[in-house]
Every structure is written in C-alpha cells, then in structure tokens.
C-alpha cells in the first residue's frame, strides 16, 4: 500500500501546477479524504485485548461509566456500560445502561456505511475527524443512539453509542469522542 501515498503526492504536485492560476479561498477539508486516508497501512483490528486500539478503561473513561463489560470481541466489539451502579446508590435505583459497539471492517468503505445508515433512516452529518473523512449517524432504536464512522487504514471503523431506553441526551458526542480517541492513538 505504500506506493499509493507516493502516487498521491505526484498527483498532488501536478494538480497544484495545473490549477494554481485560479485559486480562491475555499475550505477544502471535505475533499481531502477523497485522495487518501492518512494511514493507509494501519489496521484497527482486535489485538492485545484492545478494540479500536483502546483499552477498556479508556472506553469507560470516555463514556464516564462506573462499570464496563465486553461480552464480544473481534472485528466487532460489544460493550455494556453502567452509570450510577454501586454501593453508594440505593438498591432500588437501577443503573443507567449504555451500549457501545466498535466495528472494524478492514475491507469496508465509508460510502457503503453511509448508504446503509441513510437507508435505515439515520440523520447523517458529514465531518472530518483527526484528518479522516467521517460522518455521524443519529438513529434512535432501542434508545437514543448514534454512530461515528470514519474511513481509516485499509477500510472503515465505527463507534456506536446508545443510552439504553433513554430518549434524550446526545450520544453523538460520546461516539465522536471514542472515534477521536481511536484515531488519535494512531498519530
């Protein structure tokens, strides 16, 4: 995959020479990932007990939860987190449950993920996160839920966060926080 970076560089130089004459100030960030992801060789697969390069305590901290379990690990990792459980909470008060999944599709694509999110009725917002082309997709099903998905490495990765059974709050913020943490650990 290394050759792709070089090829992009050559194309880039050519493009500067060709179009420099008609430059004007326009934000070009959304175009960037159309050329290449900044980390074409990177794998975000499950390794060393980490999903998306993050240890469980980092996921728990990002969500601000008191308890975390990871019942399923692999290209998809599933977490169940709880807030407000513990001895200092009355036994009658059930903990607030937060569901999180991480997906790493090594040969997946952002376009396919976006098309699927749109088809399933999500509200999609385009973003650039840590130099990666990305989108947020808000779709409430079994709770307020949102995924943050980015083109990265050889494929596409996504963090999804749900406030189980809740219909308020902003899960997109938490999903984006996790995606940022994964992409940052790549820098």
């Amino acid at each position: 995959m290394r050759w792709r970076v070089k090829q992009v560089a050559v194309v880039a130089v050519t493009a500067v020479v060709t179009v420099a004459g008609c430059s004007q100030t326009v934000s070009g960030t959304a175009r960037r990932a159309q050329f290449a992801v900044p980390d074409p060789n990177r794998s975000y697969g499950y390794v060393n007990d980490r999903c998306g390069l993050l240890v469980d305590s980092a996921v728990q901290q990002a969500i601000g939860a008191d308890h975390i379990a990871r019942p399923y690990s692999g290209a998809v990792c599933q977490y169940v987190l709880a807030r407000g459980s513990g001895p200092d909470v009355g036994a009658a008060a059930p903990p607030a449950m937060i569901d999180v999944t991480f997906s790493w599709y090594e040969t997946g694509s952002l376009d396919r993920e976006r098309a699927l999110a749109v088809e399933r009725g999500a509200t999609v917002t385009e973003k650039v996160i840590e130099r990666h082309q990305a989108f947020l997709a808000r779709r409430d099903t079994t709770g307020a839920a949102c995924s943050a998905t980015a083109a990265a490495g050889t494929g596409v990765l996504s963090w999804w966060v749900q406030y189980r059974g809740q219909h308020n709050g902003d899960p997109c913020k938490d999903a984006e926080k996790l995606l940022t943490a994964t992409l940052k650990s790549d820098m």
Binding site: R4, V5, Q7, V8, A12, V13, V16, V19, C22, S23, T25, V26, S27, G28, R31, R32, Q34, F35, A36, P38, D39, N41, R42, Y46, H67, P71, Y72, S73, G74, A75, V76, Q78, V80, S85, P95, D99, T101, S103, W104, E106, T107, G108, S109, D111, R112, E113, L116, R120, A122, R131, A137, T141, T142, S147, G155, V156, S158, W160, Q162, R164
Partner: protein, 178 residues
C-alpha cells in the same frame, strides 16, 4: 507502517490541493484510480438484526428469556433477563454483520478462546461454529461479508442446546439476507 512524520506533510499538501480544486469547480473524476466503494453486491442484503425478529428469538430459545436492547447498524443484542444490576450484563444472544472482513480472523480468535470449531455450510455459504459449555457462535461468510450469531449464557441448563439456538437463528437469517 507509514512513517508518522510524512503523514502531516502529505496531509498539508493534500489539504491545499483540495482547496484549490474546489476553487476551480469540482473535478470530473477522482484523482486516484482506486474505486472508493467496492460494490456490496457480493455480500449480504441489509436488514436490521440480520432479518431476525423477537418472535424468532423466543421460538429458538424456547421462551421469553431474552429482551432486545441493541439495534445498531452493526447488529443486535438480546440480553438475558436474568441480569441483576450489572451482574450478567452481556449474557444473551447477539448478531453482527461485518461488512468487509476476513472470517479467518474470527476463527483464530475463537481458537485462542479454547472453543471447539466445526466447519459448516448454510444456504450455500461457508462458515463454522465455535462452542463450549456456555457459548456457541456461528459465522457465515459471503463475498467480503461475515454474519455471526452468538449465544453466551451462565445458565445453559435453562436453555435448549446452545448451538441449536444459534443454528436456527443463523438459518432463518440466511434465508432472509442471503
């Protein structure tokens, strides 16, 4: 692995080029010859929970022991109702759809977990199941996609044979999304 130093350089150059290209109108074609989206045609059809309903889960598991608590683009999770506070969270039935993934990666993870593996074929697609006393997962691949059905429980004695449960769900799912 790419050299970190060079990444920011390319990033800056590309950002500048991106701005210039936008200024001149959108390019007629992408600057790189690589297609951004491999066609999903080779994989599975899309359906929430890979086509399986709560009624299917209740039928396969024998009774209303599970409650659906996750419906995401990655898949679904029905939690075992025996959960108490945070004890037993994660026990239940899950299905995930890997849109561009290698089944062999999951195979080696299941082997490392010490589970027994058996090859299988469902609706013309190849797969395998991995099981022990408290879990049974079924993986089926098509094109670049993989769909899994898993059960994990601390109460196997309360349930039908675990691989029979996931086997039925995987079969129903294949009938609907294959």
């Amino acid at each position: 692995m790419a050299v970190p130093r060079s990444r920011s350089t390319y990033g800056a150059v590309l950002a500048a080029v991106g701005a210039l290209l936008v200024g001149c109108g959108p390019p007629d074609r992408p600057a790189t010859p690589t297609a951004p989206a491999p066609p999903p045609g080779g994989g599975f059809h899309t359906a929430d929970c890979n086509g399986v309903t709560d009624a299917d889960v209740n039928k396969a598991a024998g009774s209303s022991l599970f409650t659906k608590v996750v419906v995401s683009d990655a898949g679904c999770f029905w939690q075992e109702n025996t959960v108490l506070g945070t004890f037993g969270v994660g026990m239940g039935i899950s299905t995930w759809w890997y849109r561009g993934s290698d089944m062999d990666t999951e195979r080696s993870l299941e082997q490392q977990a010490g589970r027994t593996l058996t090859e299988l074929s469902l609706d013309g697609n190849k797969g395998f199941k991995a099981y022990d006393a408290n879990a049974c997962s079924i993986y089926v691949a098509k094109g670049g996609d993989v769909i899994t059905w898993s059960i994990q429980t601390m109460n196997p004695a309360m349930l039908p044979d675990l691989c029979t449960i996931t086997g039925q769900l995987a079969e129903l799912s294949q009938q609907r999304v294959n």
